[in-house]
Amino acid sequence: MLVVEWSNRWFRSVALIAVILFSAAACRQSAAAEESIDFEREVAPILQRRCLACHNDRDRRGGLSLQSAKAARAGGESGEVIAPGEPASSYLLDLVIPHDETAEMPKGEPPLTQQQVESIRRWITAGAVWPEGVVLEPPVLWSLTPLRRPPAAAIAEQRAGFPIRNAIDAFAAAGHRKAHVEAAPQADRRTLIRRLYLDLVGLPPAPAAVEAFVADDDPLAYELLVDQLLASPHFGEHWGRHWLDLARYADSDGYLGDAIRQHAWVYREWVIDAINQDLPFDEFSIEQLAGDLLEAPTLSQRIATGFHRNTLRNTEAGVDLELYRTKEIVDRVNTTGMVWLGLTLGCAECHDHKNDPVTQREFYRLYAFFNNADEVTAAATRPWEKKEYERAQQSWRPAWEQLVAELADFEIDELTDEQKTEIEKTLDEQTKATDLKAIAEYYRTDDPDWSAMRAKVEQQLKAKPVAPSTKAPVFAPRTKDRRETHIHIRGVYNRPGEQVHPGTPAVLPELQPRGSTPDRLDLARWIFHADNPLTPRVAVNRIWQHLFGVGLVATPNDFGTKGAEPTHPQLLDWLATEYRRRGWSRKAMIRLIVMSSTYRMASAVNAVPGQQDLGNLALWRQNSLRVDAETVRDVHLAASGLLDTTIGRRGIRPPLPAFVTEVGRSVQWPVSEGGERYRRGMYILFKRTVPYPMLMTFDAPDAAISCSRRERSNTPLQALTLLNDPVFYECAQTLGRQIAERHPDPDDLPAATDEIFRRCLARPPAAAEREALIAAYRDLHRLARQGDEAIEPAHDPHRAAITAAVRIVMNLDEFITRD
């Protein structure tokens, strides 16, 4: 350790000496070059690119701006930084000259090159002349540069194996050339159909569909498959679930109360329908942000505003309600920023954004848009609920009418017509047994059979269907007692600062309000302003992310200075303009991308032997992705045939052990019955304090904050879940039973393993795989026949061993991976 430190120090001194010697030499040189230094050509670009991001008139880090001559001469908090003619006393040079390959400035970035340092030194030596009127502009964040449609990349040569099918491929091919990588071959048809199914509808293909596609030599087969999947009602479920991540959708309030939001699902259903109908992304967004403000909004447009009703809510006794109300609004601003603008506005809640051009004042001007949205409900009983009710009534009514007829036998004799009408009316409106009291005197209640009669009536009344009355949580404009908005000093809600009015950040196009006071609808339309460069980039990047696992910008919610830069800027911009050109059609963009050769490449890391770039930044292959938590469940249910494909509607509660549900306060978890138990993962009721463990184990978001990119972890808890979770085991047993019945003969094992593979993985096993599985089957058959000290011998060892074989395949990496 000591040696290292010493040698480090030695190195440093050597480096320092070298710098000094070099500087001295440079000084002599610079005398000659003095006359020729050109500020605008040689110095300004350095300042602009390397200094102005922080040292501009707006941010003035360390009190210093280098935008103009005046500001530069004024210096910063440490005084003057430039002493004209005296490089040795110019603090600026001290800061930028690297020691040990690092320099104080630019902070946190690679130091200036020797040549750049020299240019600055020469400029100072020559008197630091800053021509009159020259004002430098700070660098513009790439994502804020105007969106222009780049010309499609030139296609140098069509490489065999990577046909240029559309513009995406031309851009990707240009990237391949630039990175000197070779594109992976196109994936085989079995991989492609499974990939398309999992990406577009989130379900695996049925074996028959796979075989039909593999056998189909129509050149349009792939395209037809794409169209078929885009038209599937399950498309809206899968892509709806992506959107629900952003909407931080949950079925409960969160925090201590964590009350169930009985009708939150109405919004979920809206999302699924809207995506299935391919509601253009601009309308889709505007309705969610401000559907209530549209002219004569439809119920559907009002339901859409449920997007921002998904925030956490704290209702604990004694809690500061105003604090948590403001936190909900802060969350709405942050979410709006991340989802549509790719801006981390949240950083400006307490102070001006440290990296991106958003001030605290601008944050609260955005906040003001949401400060006058009232939280109300909309009567939203769904047509299917009404039908369900009618059906229930129809099956209830005959038994009731029969009882009413039986009741007539108990009537006392001398009833007037009036009284008879009263009975009729009362019985007709019956909802509960206690209502009967009013007419009890008209019956022979001392009859020995009366109590039995009464019990039957009571029971039937208890079963009486209740008319649905669904109330969707929505926004409504606040008309009375409208709130003023103030800056919260240091983000503290009860330290009001300057009053602000609704408005948008200055770096983005100007807001064009309809009236004198801009409202949410103006904000929503502004987000889709033709000159707003962020929205289309952010939106199309997310579509890409869902089809490749990683976005062209790896930080989908942060297109700011600290976010990732696009790996393919031109491709991103081309896609962004294309999205708008195609009328914001989500389906059109997905279709465009999945039709490309780029999408269709093989995903194996070794698809091109010896190729580096394992991170696949150059997009030379597809990515292989573990499917999302909900899909992990869905592939099990689908492969076993248990899946209930009902779309939308209320959530379900699969069975859970008590120790899981008991950790929350008074958690009721009435388990769903019948086929409903086998609905898709996205319908599992999401209670924020007691999230369904399987979903969390596979990285479903916790719905506390908007989530634009899920983790994809790979853990032993996942292995334990796949191995032992009762739902997954039931799937293995179900499929095991089917296969054992179809292949009862142990000599039929190759066919049985073949079918297991086809049902689960959409392909037959390779020879080595078949052998391995059959060998396992034989051992498992023997073990099942024998039993052990804890387990009885199986009465049907064939079925037990086939089930175990299915369980093995359902535990393979490939089963829960989209290749």
């Binding site: 201590l256 604990e316 306060r665 972890s713 391995a772 396992a776």
Partner: protein, 489 residues
């Protein structure tokens, strides 16, 4: 090392990340020998991970004894003779302005003294109430902080603040931060385990051990203290041990064939995860098997007491004592962070009997845990923290519908917590409250300061342990926190 470079966002590797549940693993790809694993004891410790710390760490592991609900400090740790004298008097009005309560009616509220007898114990002479006879024998290892304070008045915001440093849901808990910063040392168990003895449930449910915005592998894993310790740990009822082993072998064999075919490192991780899962199946039940513990040890924790065998709510002692003993066993097996929740100390009414009950449940096992750790030489590197989300008011709670005043309301403005082991300077009482126990009079310690101090004990600078999320580098201590040097030995 002058920077703690732990950003998980290595974008280039986004799809290749070999996410891990255990930071270390002794078994390499394809090295699985199930037969030997079946016989393996699974006790402790692979190689410790090459953790990056900013300072020499004193603590390696932590047992956090979380007292849900807010225990009453003036009846346990902070005697207030003046309060006893003023029993039944109104509060000075100046103190009541700006203060809000969950249930107390300000106008008619009266101060309430404590019936507890306090006495000095140990060489250090620490004062404790008569409710803590067992803990009184450990005071020389304990640093008592009487000057804790916070702003969070309600249970869940208070608990989230104490557990995550933020009153809002969605932030990572302390245990997640430590596992993220230091990794896990356990081969066979998760690095962050939670055991709960629950009255009416935890206000935050699973958020109480959530990894928040940190990757999910840093989340706490809830264990049961009986039966099968982890959800889905047990194989399905009709799968024998042999069948499970044979199935695992086939799964990994087939996954290896796939790995050869596609070369994707995620497949290798999957194989490793299955090996670890299988090892966990073998070893985790052993964790719960107390048959190897001596009768003396079981008795020390109170597991020989009659009430320990009862399974209803009066059997809490059994559950809590078991959890304390299991915490030691987990620490021995390299678990980084163990949280034991005990719910609930929320004594709005029947404070005296409530406190008597909860101290009867917890006093003996906690003292036993401290002594047991010390005897085994584990206390030096094991930090033990005791505390709730806040304390309770010196005012009696005169809730509108209460016939008599028998309890206290929530009080975040001053309360007590204690720490022991893991490099903590024991035998001291730090800070003081004013004479009626309303506010902090000396050496205030905010929750953020406590967090900064805990991280420091683990060798971490709370300002440098960061995670980038939504464009910001987040910390456990947000933008606050000062290390309390007096607490560090």
């Amino acid at each position: 090392m002058n920077s703690h470079n732990l950003h998980a966002h290595d974008f280039a590797q986004a799809t290749l990340n070999r996410r891990r549940f255990f930071a270390t693993s002794a078994s390499g790809l394809g090295s699985l020998a199930l037969a030997s694993l079946l016989g393996e004891e699974g006790l402790l410790a692979g190689d410790p991970p090459a953790a990056v710390t900013h300072f020499a760490p004193k603590a390696k592991r932590c047992i956090y004894l979380f007292m849900e609900g807010g225990p009453s400090q003036m009846d346990l740790f902070d005697p207030k003779p003046r309060l006893n004298e003023l029993d039944g008097q109104p509060m000075p009005e100046s103190l009541l302005q700006e203060i809000k309560f969950a249930f107390i009616q300000k106008e008619s509220a009266r101060l309430m003294g404590s019936p507890r007898k306090f006495q000095r114990y140990g060489q250090c002479g620490m004062e404790l109430s008569d409710l803590l006879p067992h803990l009184s024998t450990c005071v020389d290892d304990i640093a008592m902080v009487r000057s804790m304070h916070c702003e969070q008045f309600n249970h869940l915001p208070g608990q989230l603040m104490m557990l995550t440093g933020s009153a809002l849901q969605g932030w990572p808990t302390l245990g997640s931060w430590l596992n993220y910063g230091l990794g896990s040392e356990s081969r066979n168990l998760p690095g962050y385990v939670v055991l709960a003895t629950l009255g009416r449930g935890l206000p935050g449910g699973a958020s109480s051990w959530s990894s928040g915005f940190l990757p999910s592998q840093y989340s706490g894993v809830q264990f049961r203290n009986q039966g099968s310790p982890v959800l889905n740990l047990a194989s399905p009822a009709d799968i024998s041990r042999g069948a499970q082993a044979r199935s695992l072998q086939a799964i990994n064999e087939l996954n290896r064939l796939r790995h050869e075919r596609v070369g994707n490192p995620e497949v290798a991780s999957r194989i490793e995860a299955y090996e670890l899962a299988f090892r966990m199946q073998q070893t985790a039940p052993e964790l719960l098997d107390l048959s190897g513990e001596t009768a003396a040890t079981l008795a020390e924790y109170g597991l020989d007491r009659d009430e320990a065998a009862q399974s209803d709510k009066s059997g809490f002692l059994g559950s809590y004592a078991r959890n304390c003993l299991l915490a030691r066993r987990m620490i021995e097996r390299g678990v980084r962070f163990v949280t034991l929740f005990l719910s609930t100390w929320d004594h709005h009414s029947n404070l005296d009997s409530g406190l008597a009950r909860y101290t009867r449940i917890s006093d003996q096992p906690i003292a036993a845990l401290l002594k047991d750790l010390k005897r085994r030489g584990l206390l030096d590197e094991t930090l033990v923290v005791w505390g709730g989300e806040f304390g309770r008011t010196p005012l009696g709670e005169n809730r509108a519908n209460f016939k008599t005043v028998t309890g206290r309301d929530h009080h975040p403005y001053s309360f007590s917590m204690w720490l022991a082991g893991g490099g903590v300077q024991g035998g001291q009482t730090l800070g003081a409250t004013d004479e009626i126990g309303w506010g902090v009079a000396e050496r205030p310690v905010h929750v953020h300061d406590l967090h900064a101090t805990i991280l420091r004990l683990f060798g971490l600078d709370h300002k440098r342990l960061t995670y980038r999320f939504q464009g910001r580098d987040f910390r456990l201590t947000d933008v606050h926190g000062d290390v309390v040097d007096e607490l560090i030995a």
